[in-house]
């Protein structure tokens, strides 16, 4: 049985369980997942133990998360463009420091919601 835990205020970590023997619960779960994606939640699906991928979409008809299945890649040195001059103007928050841009060639992979453990994280306000 799959589940979706939602990081939330107040109640702490709340969990929705998907039991396919209960059609009403499955319909409700599908509606919640679709609504979360519409509201900009990051749905992080556990693809292997401890390994997660972000769902880019959800197929409501078949109840499957659609994740980007990236090609395996080697560790590469990150691109660092820190500015060192005094009084230099900082750039906007799309800063110049980032892990090296990957060639984001991705196939789509589907994971049934009943088989997946997922964590939902609400949109970020920054900080």
């Amino acid at each position: 049985m799959g589940n979706l835990s939602v990081l939330s205020v107040g109640g702490g970590d709340i969990t929705l369980k998907f039991d396919k023997s209960n059609p009403a619960e499955v319909i409700r779960a599908k509606r919640i997942i679709k609504d979360m994606l519409r509201r900009g939640y990051a749905l992080l699906i556990e693809v292997k133990e401890g390994e997660f991928q972000r769902a880019v979409n959800f197929d409501e008809n078949v109840g499957e998360y659609i994740i980007a299945d990236y090609d395996p890649e080697e560790i590469t040195e990150p691109v660092v463009k820190l500015k060192e001059n005094d009084d230099e103007q900082e750039e906007e928050e799309t800063a110049a420091i980032e892990p090296k841009a990957r060639t984001r060639k991705a196939n789509q992979k589907r994971i049934k919601m009943e088989n997946a453990n997922a964590v939902a994280v609400a949109r970020s306000a920054g900080g």
Binding site: L7, G50, R54, K100, S124, G127
Partner: protein
């Protein structure tokens, strides 16, 4: 062990009301708890963000228009160019947040959370990281993990931004920046988010593991020398 009554405070009714409102409004992640004298910044696309903007500390009315702002290493402050109400261009220094003040405010924000929700978050975190790292987190409030994708090392910290580190060819470790991210909202001028501290740490960890590029895009990247980085 203290009883539930002892652990409750004056804010328990506010938290309960916000929890009930969150369920009623079908806000799956709940509604942040407003705190008197703290400005709660809620993610702008949240339906209640404009309501939250009117609650808490009031900023004095602006009688100047900001033209440009940048950070000065020499002055350790932001330099601001602004136009005053007479239309004259002026400049001034705005010092960064003071770590001590931010620490005091962060302590005050703990009334927004409950011990129970932090306990649940700790249980969740214990299933996500190895035992020795969980012990490290319990005892020091931080743990370390290296990304399999980029090779960058991250120090995930309770109530402080995550530190991103890299190692150059000579083996020297460098701080890239501190990554600040709070799901739904945060209290301005503090390191506190609307969720309990360990839920914020879980959000950082899982976003890094699931989609590092997305994590960097969503987080505010704070340079290590700035006080907001908490270093």
């Amino acid at each position: 062990m203290q009883s539930q009554e002892v652990l409750e405070d004056n804010y328990s009714s506010t938290r309960q009301i916000m929890r009930a409102l969150g369920i009623k409004a079908e806000e799956w992640c709940g509604l942040p708890v407003p705190i008197a004298d703290e400005k709660l910044i809620v993610e702008p696309s949240h339906p209640a963000s404009s309501v939250y903007a009117k609650i808490g500390r009031e900023d004095p009315p602006e009688d100047k228009t900001i033209i440009n702002t940048w950070y000065s290493y020499r002055h350790r402050s932001d330099i601001v160019i602004y136009r005053d109400k007479e239309g004259k261009l002026r400049w001034g220094l705005v010092p960064g947040i003071h770590s001590l003040r931010a620490a005091f405010s962060t302590m005050g924000c703990s009334i927004a959370w409950t011990v129970e929700e932090e306990e649940r978050a700790l249980l969740k975190l214990s299933t996500l990281i190895p035992d020795h790292l969980f012990k490290m987190y319990l005892l020091s409030g931080m743990f370390i993990e290296t990304s399999k994708r980029s090779g960058l090392t991250y120090i995930f910290r309770k109530l402080r931004p995550t530190v991103a580190l890299t190692t150059d060819k000579t083996g020297e470790v460098k701080i890239l920046c501190a990554l600040c991210l709070h799901p739904i909202g945060y209290y301005e001028g503090t390191w506190a988010g609307s969720m309990c501290p360990t839920d914020d740490v879980i959000a950082h960890l899982l976003m890094m593991r699931a989609d590092e590029h997305f994590y960097w895009k969503r987080a505010n990247q704070i340079r290590a020398h700035r006080p907001e980085a908490g270093l």
